[in-house]
């Protein structure tokens, strides 16, 4: 890989640049390595370039398992690299890829839903459900981002939001039907293992579209670089061409996903790497991305095979791809993200002011709903209305208190982040603070086992979210806290988290399910003491945030204004970010991740008319707590006696509302 990276000969149309030769050579060496690693009976010290003698099982394995696997890695890698490249050229967005646009979680949800609703169908035709899910998710992401948003951060943010929402829904389905099908999880984690040529034969004709793409796409893609108007001036009918290219890309990705399961990152990293190696023209980039994609996936799969032997346990290929891919993505973005990208998604504007009358009504309605939630409950004999008995109340109040405190904390954290980064889509979950905390907990559980979870989780969560904050600060300082880099960290971490979770799910039974419960944001195990500590911590941190309200107002107007008013912007920003990550850490360590609440509560406050810092902060906190109270009640009542974790209910509730807001704004 190093050799490839250093060879950056300029592209001349007359002959292939040297990097193609180097890459092909590397591909050859890697292929030999891959073939040797794939043979079950060949020890690592017995290398051979000759196929095994005919008539033995080794020969069968070589011809029917190892060779198809190699072919599959090459085909899928090339397809993912190529489609990523076209997608990035088309949207002129370095971060575009099927994964970042929500395709992966769409596919996962499609398959999960089918597996639960129609298990027989899922075993045979589940892949088509995945394809439908992927198409739907990407379509939604593009719809939300709109025509102008597809080139920048908005579409990535929309994809990220969809990833969170669809992931939450899939988790809910799995939690409700927790006797799972293991095959589903293996597919979810991406497994390149083959037992015959069936899938290769299924896949390769469908990838011929790729050749057409390489032949025909470069001209329109080059014209697109001139911008929409320029391209039209050169006689390009923009929309049909864009649509055709887009469908071709999704087709390539979907059939690849169908054949081997979810393999992230290849489509995202490959085109970036290709450009880094010197691919400049559209044709060069497409061709080289296909080649490089094949090389990357083959490398990742070779690592998978080594890990398989090392752990003498099946490690999914997608896991290795993500383990390599996530850090590579961060490294790439550190080098490449220069230009400011301050565009963002827009939400519908709300009321201008919050008057007393409206506030009074809001408070009245909110209190009524909260009271109803306390009085109305389901019991063994059906619905009951009345104050819960002492025993029931002693079981219920800690979880209610914890949920409300967490809601307040997340809402305030989200509101401060949105102001700090001047990005209406910033929130702990989208920026990866929650994912970092969660990832640390998942890693700790995998290392030490679920038995110690109560003990380790808070420490790990705190460490994790501080680590992410550190990363954000290091990257952020260089790029002036550009939302792009922040979101990238979030995307990378969320993907890593997803991978870790998938590995855990393919491996474990009890541990994984316990983890799944925690990941869903549950208040179930909260003790009275913990709930009190959490509420005190949240109240304290919110109080400190209120004390910083002037700094927050100034920073959200702009650095220039803040400086001219005598604010030490750097230090204020650091202090506020630290406050945010503390809030996230205390909440996540107790509840696990809760998505969308921190994003939505501040917006709801603003929609209701609370536009200035102090009222918005207070109203957002109130709304956050209220939403969690309602979610807790829904979680307890919807599927009684089964309880849905409050965080999951809140995530889905807020996520759907958020989606509705975005789409309404787009359609209006």
């Amino acid at each position: 890989m190093q050799a490839v990276a250093t060879n950056t000969a300029p592209w001349k149309p007359t002959h292939l640049p040297g990097r193609y030769l180097v890459t092909l050579l590397a591909l050859g060496v890697l292929a030999a390595l891959h073939l040797n690693l794939g043979m079950t009976h060949w020890p690592l010290d017995r290398w051979s370039l000759r196929p095994p003698p005919a008539g033995t099982f080794d020969a069968l394995e070589f011809g029917l398992s190892v060779l198809p696997r190699l072919t599959m890695a090459l085909l899928v890698g090339a397809a993912l690299g190529l489609s990523g490249s076209v997608l990035q050229r088309m949207t002129q967005n370095r971060l575009a890829s099927p994964m970042t646009l929500g395709a992966a979680s769409g596919a996962w949800l499609g398959l999960t839903a089918t597996a639960v609703l129609a298990p027989a169908l899922a075993a045979t035709h589940g892949h088509w459900a995945a394809l439908g899910g992927a198409l739907g998710a990407v379509g939604l992401a593009l719809l939300i981002a709109g025509r102008n948003g597809s080139a920048g951060l908005p579409v990535i943010l929309a994809g990220m939001a969809l990833n969170l929402l669809l992931g939450a829904i899939a988790t809910a389905i799995l939690l409700v039907h927790n006797q799972h099908s293991r095959g589903l999880f293996i597919w979810g984690a991406g497994d390149l293992g083959q037992i015959d040529w069936h899938w290769v034969q299924w896949l390769w004709p469908k990838l011929l579209v790729g050749l057409v793409l390489i032949a025909l796409a470069p001209r329109p893609l080059t014209l697109l670089q001139l911008g929409g108007a320029g391209a039209r001036a050169r006689g390009l009918s923009l929309w049909p061409v864009m649509l055709a290219l887009f469908l071709a890309c999704l087709w390539l990705t979907s059939v690849a996903i169908t054949a081997v399961g979810l393999i992230g990152f290849i489509g995202l990293i490959t085109p970036n790497l290709a450009r880094l190696c010197g691919a400049r023209t559209a044709r060069d980039e497409l061709l080289y991305s296909a080649l490089l994609g094949a090389l990357l996936l083959l490398g990742a799969d070779a690592v998978t095979l080594v890990l398989n032997r090392w752990f003498s346990e099946l490690i999914p290929s997608g896991a290795a791809a993500a383990l390599i891919g996530a850090p590579a993505l961060l490294w790439l973005s550190r080098r490449q993200l220069g230009a400011e990208d301050r565009q963002s998604l827009a939400l519908p504007p709300g009321a201008e002011r919050l008057d007393r009358r409206r506030l009074a009504w809001l408070l009245l309605a909110g209190t009524t709903v909260a009271l109803l939630g306390l009085l109305l409950a389901r019991g063994p004999q059906g619905w009951t209305f009345g104050w819960p008995s002492e025993l029931l109340w002693s079981l219920r109040w800690p979880r209610l208190l914890a949920a409300v405190a967490a809601g307040c904390g997340l809402a305030v954290a989200g509101m401060m982040l949105q102001r700090l980064l001047r990005n209406p889509l910033a929130s702990p979950d989208i920026l990866g603070l929650t994912a970092g905390a969660t990832l640390a907990v998942v890693a700790a559980v995998m290392l030490f086992g679920a038995g110690q979870m109560q003990l380790i989780a808070p420490i790990a969560a705190f460490g994790g979210s501080l680590l992410v904050l550190g990363l954000l600060l290091v990257f952020g300082r260089r790029h002036r806290y550009s939302p792009g880099i922040m979101v990238l960290v979030g995307v990378s971490l969320a993907a890593l988290l997803n991978t870790a979770l998938q590995i855990g799910l393919t491996r474990g039974q009890g541990d994984a399910l316990a983890l799944l419960g925690w990941l869903a944001g549950s208040t179930y195990r909260v003790e009275a003491g913990e709930a009190i500590v959490l509420s005190v911590a949240v109240v304290l941190l919110v109080g400190i945030s209120l004390a910083f309200h002037r700094a927050l107002t100034l920073v959200s107007i702009g650095d220039g204004v803040a400086l001219s008013r005598g604010l030490d912007v750097g230090r204020a920003r650091l202090a506020l970010l630290l406050l945010v990550s503390l809030l996230c850490a205390v909440v996540t360590s107790l509840l696990g991740p809760v998505a969308f609440l921190g994003l939505l509560a501040p917006h709801m406050a603003a929609l209701l008319g609370a536009r200035r810092v102090v009222p918005q902060l207070l109203l957002a906190a109130l709304l956050g707590g209220w939403l969690m109270l309602v979610s807790d009640w829904l979680g307890r009542s919807l599927l009684y006696p089964l309880e849905i974790p409050v965080g999951l209910v809140a995530s889905i509730l807020c996520g759907l509302y958020f989606l509705y807001l975005l789409i309404r704004h787009r359609v209006a």
Binding site: A123, L392, R525
Partner: protein, 309 residues
């Protein structure tokens, strides 16, 4: 005679004869909640119907034996049972595993709690479940019945062993139990798993050694099964989409498949209490009896076409 009687009562329970052996359910019958599947199995074998159980539907779908009566109240999942519902059921006893140990404070406000160990690699899981069963029996005052059912189980195991010897002769084949996840991935049950304990109790050796793991099984690529060139492989049904694998040339080329030393066993739970080992042993024996003795005797010879690794 005593063993015969016990065996008969065991059979009666297995086939769901409603009142045989169990005392008439009077008011004094303790109201017990079982929040894991092993205690459900143990309580039912003791002739006690748990009032409340976790994941009842999944128990009926996956564990199946012994049959859980419809009257049991479902109280949510095994990881997060519904505490408020439990509090309203007027319970005398709650049986949990270490998975819920951190809820003990809350549960004890509802009713007395007893906890029995679950799967671990630090102890012999079969011996531990046997102890758990006896301890639970003592707690509910049914030690005699527990001893009788265990004696019946041991007798039944001896009978199964005899049937295997009658089929295969003096030396029994080595066996490995697996469950397929997908056509390319397989779970192999290894040391200290319940299927392995069932094999040991039947006097069968393991055909393939895997490292120790928390739950006793490991997920592996299907091709590693080719390392088994002498033993028998038994797979736990169902395996939806199994034809994809079984019809493939790669599968047909596996040494144990070519030699006809492969069979399916009916769906049986692998992580249950002490009697799950008996049910596994019965299913394994059934499957093995399908395999012609000649296939196994051939493996003992030297006509294997595979060079041993």
């Amino acid at each position: 005679m005593k063993i015969l009687l016990a065996l008969f009562s065991l059979l009666a329970i297995l086939f769901g004869a409603p009142s045989f052996g169990a005392p008439a359910r009077a008011d004094e019958a303790p109201r017990i909640a079982a929040l894991s599947w092993e205690p459900i199995e143990h309580l039912l074998m003791l002739g006690l119907e748990p009032v409340a159980v976790a994941d009842a539907d999944d128990y009926r779908a996956w564990v199946v034996r012994p049959t859980l009566p419809e009257s049991a109240v479902e109280v949510g999942t095994r990881t997060e049972p519904n505490l408020e519902l439990l509090a309203q059921l007027d319970l005398d006893l709650i049986v949990i595993t270490p998975l819920l140990e951190d809820l003990r404070d809350k549960l004890e406000r509802i009713a007395p709690v007893v906890s029995y160990g679950d799967f671990t690699q630090e102890r012999d899981n079969y011996a531990m479940q046997r102890e758990n069963y006896l301890a639970l029996a003592e707690r509910v005052g049914r030690l005699d019945r527990a001893r009788a059912t265990l004696a019946a189980m041991d007798a039944r195991l001896g009978e199964l062993r005899d049937r295997l010897h009658a089929h295969f002769g003096e030396s029994l084949p080595a066996v490995t139990v697996v469950r397929f996840s997908t056509p390319t991935a397989v779970l192999v049950y290894g040391p200290n798993s319940m299927p392995r304990h069932a094999l040991e109790l039947l006097g069968l050796e393991s055909a393939y050694d895997t490292p120790v793991s928390r739950w006793g099984n490991l997920q592996l690529p299907v091709t590693v099964l080719s390392e088994i060139d002498r033993g028998v492989v038994v797979h736990i049904e169902p395996f939806p989409g199994g034809e994809r694998l079984f019809d493939s040339r790669l599968w047909q080329g596996m040494p144990f498949v070519r030699a006809g030393r492969f069979a399916g066993m009916r769906s049986t739970w692998t992580h249950g209490g002490v009697f799950c080992v008996l049910f596994l042993a019965e299913a394994i024996t059934e499957a093995l009896l399908e395999i012609p003795p000649t296939a196994v005797q051939a493996a003992g010879g030297s006509d294997s076409t595979e060079p041993a690794q």
